[in-house]
């Protein structure tokens, strides 16, 4: 592991050289907003972005993917994506979400399909330069990330501090021009960025330490808030779709035109959608919108944390706040209301 400093122009040269040999995905403008997409030129990379429309989870858990192929009456064959890729510009909150997903797909039963893609990835994370309209990563303690990435870039004006955390990260910078060891001034500037982001990425302020949320929810199950908020819920699942830590999926078969071969696919699903818990014959365990609405917020701050050592599975990206048409998805609003009503402690 080493910490370097590199001028922005020199970093652009690294990216342009990388594009010639690797599959590089980077954050780019999409209309007036931003998204991860295959990168054709370093000039298109926008590391000053506020938030991407979709989180980077789609590169590890695609919206639909083929798990297996089969021949009718014959055996099944596992299918894997083999390609290595470089993901440029992952914000700290999204990196923390990826770290959580890694643990969830690794534990209990090791998911080779997810983990294969994850191991094929080289992740270049970057500290946030521009706060998005709904970010609350400071509240969730996810504004700064310390692990999981191969490289972490911090914009300190005309250059980046680049923490090369792994051999893969070192390799990206190996032999590149203009790479020098980060001096004390550069490291000091990075500390300042972290200190600032630790407070400023906070459009919605959670009124408690996030570590308290599981305890808060222990006494909130029958609170009227679930009914009240869910009253205007469309059950559209947009909050699930844009969430970097939602990973529920459906498994379905798709037969080819020859009617002899086909594939078994998995596709994103959402716990807010009607029918998610339906069993034969037509019994639905979370039938009401309020039950489903509550389930999402319990997953984020109680159920998933129990599986990953207490980390809260809401990373404060604010995408669900922006995506929700009736404006009810904001986790901070819901949790704060519970704190107001139920108190802390």
């Amino acid at each position: 592991m080493s910490i370097k400093r590199i001028a922005k122009d020199d970093f652009a040269s690294i990216v342009d050289a990388l594009i010639k040999t690797e599959n590089v995905i980077g954050v780019q403008a999409k209309g007036e907003r931003f998204d991860f997409a295959p990168l054709e030129s370093a000039g298109d990379l926008r590391l000053d972005y506020d938030v991407t429309l979709q989180p980077p989870k789609k590169f590890f858990l695609p919206p639909t993917e083929v798990l297996l192929t089969y021949e009718v009456g014959g055996a099944y064959q596992s299918v894997y994506d083999d390609g290595a890729f470089v993901l440029l510009g992952v914000h700290p909150y999204d990196m923390i979400a990826i770290n959580q997903m890694d643990e969830l797909f690794r534990q209990d039963n090791y998911d080779t399909h997810y983990m294969k893609r994850r191991n094929n990835a080289t992740i270049v994370a970057c500290d946030v330069v521009t706060a998005s309209e709904n970010v609350f990563a400071s509240s969730m303690r996810t504004a700064v990330v310390k692990e999981g990435f191969d490289v972490l870039l911090t914009d300190i004006g005309d250059s980046y501090v680049a923490e090369l955390a792994t051999a893969k990260g070192e390799k990206l910078f190996a032999g590149a021009a203009g790479v020098v060891d980060a001096d004390a001034t550069a490291l000091q500037k990075r500390e300042e960025v972290w200190a600032r982001n630790g407070k400023s990425l906070n459009r919605h302020e959670l009124e408690c330490d996030p570590a308290y949320l599981p305890k808060l929810l222990e006494k909130a199950y029958d609170h009227p808030i679930w009914e009240e908020l869910a009253r205007t819920c469309f059950s559209c699942g947009s909050c699930n779709q844009v969430c970097p830590t939602c990973y529920c999926f459906n498994v379905q078969d798709d037969v080819n035109w020859d009617l002899k071969t086909g594939q078994r696919c998995r596709a994103w699903d959402g716990c807010l959608l009607d029918g998610f818990t339906k069993v034969a014959p037509d019994h639905e365990f979370r039938k009401s919108r309020a039950d489903r609405f509550r389930h999402r917020l319990y997953r984020k701050a109680k159920y998933v944390p129990e599986k990953i050592g207490g980390q809260i599975a809401c990373v404060g990206c604010g995408r669900c706040v922006s995506a929700c048409l009736p404006d009810i998805a904001n986790p901070v609003k819901a949790y704060n209301r519970l704190i107001d009503d139920l108190g802390i402690g």
Binding site: V72, A75, D111, Y247, F249, N250, G262, K278, F285
Partner: protein, 279 residues
């Protein structure tokens, strides 16, 4: 493939099995005996498999046979959706995919040793319970009194009729059967399965009580057991969910903070009591 992936097997990949025997149990339920094409298949009563029909999909089905039976394993499948309809079309010699056995929440075959066991089955609930029942009957000396309560909607919906009749003739087990909506062919008890509970002669304080049936049945059974002060930690419930992946990932079977596919499908009632979504 990287080293860590290469060492791990694909949790979604079914193994091939062959249908050895099938039988129609009634209009909706079909019996199948299967054997794995490669290697042994070791399971514990309460575990389930994901049955895979290429081109149609997968469905989670609890194993109905007891592992004491060495000749393959048995399933009973109700015709209710795409996959189960396709399973009904299978004939002896046909191939299908199997993942499993799955589920760490199993019937308490060890814990029940030396104690009375009461089985309460509603309709299709007999199918998974039969694995535990036959396990106990095949290791009869290890257990105390055995009582089996079986409730069905109507005469034609009764399952494993000759096997149930054989149980009723044993002098080391008691079988009580009832129908909700009988016709003239039925001479026995009439009513729901809970109406049989007061007839049970067992040591309710220590007996292990195993319950499986449609979702609507559980609360009524629990209320009936409450009349006899059955300790909640001795009651085991087999739950039904849409287990899409079967390996604790997809989220469909989640009840509050547990996954039925890995933590169940059999649960101790005291472990479920704090989970309002259980039933």
């Amino acid at each position: 493939m990287c080293q860590c992936c290469a060492e791990e097997k694909d949790i979604y990949l079914p193994q091939m099995a062959t249908v050895q025997d099938t039988a129609e149990m009634n209009d909706t339920d079909r019996y199948l005996r299967l054997s794995m094409d490669d290697g042994p298949f070791d399971y514990i009563p309460g575990q389930f498999v994901e049955v895979s029909i290429a081109g149609v999909g997968e469905a989670p089905i609890t194993i109905s046979s007891s592992p004491t039976q060495k000749d393959g394993f048995e399933l009973v499948v109700r015709k209710i959706g795409n996959v189960t309809n396709a399973i009904h079309a299978l004939k002896p010699g046909d191939k299908l995919g199997i993942r499993g056995p799955l589920g760490k929440g199993i019937y308490p075959v060890e814990e029940a040793k030396g104690r009375d066991v009461v089985f309460i089955c509603g309709g299709l609930g007999l199918v998974p319970q039969r694995s535990f029942i036959n396990y106990v009957l095949d290791n009869r000396a290890d257990y105390g009194q055995v009582t089996i309560l079986q409730g069905c909607k109507c005469y034609d919906q009764r399952l494993f009729v000759s096997e149930v009749e054989a149980w009723s003739k044993r002098d080391d087990a008691v079988l009580l059967e009832t129908l909700d909506d009988p016709d003239e062919r039925w001479k026995g008890n009439v009513g729901v399965v809970t109406s049989l509970v007061p007839q049970v002669k067992t040591d309710w304080k220590t007996a292990v009580v195993s319950v499986c049936g449609p979702p609507v049945m559980y609360k009524f059974v629990l209320m009936a057991l409450e009349e006899f002060d059955v300790p909640h930690e001795n009651i085991f419930l087999n739950l039904e969910r849409k287990m899409k992946c079967g390996v604790g990932k997809c989220g469909h079977c989640q009840i509050n903070d547990v996954y039925v596919c890995i933590d169940g499908p059999v649960f101790r009632y005291t472990d479920l009591a704090t989970m309002p979504e259980a039933i």
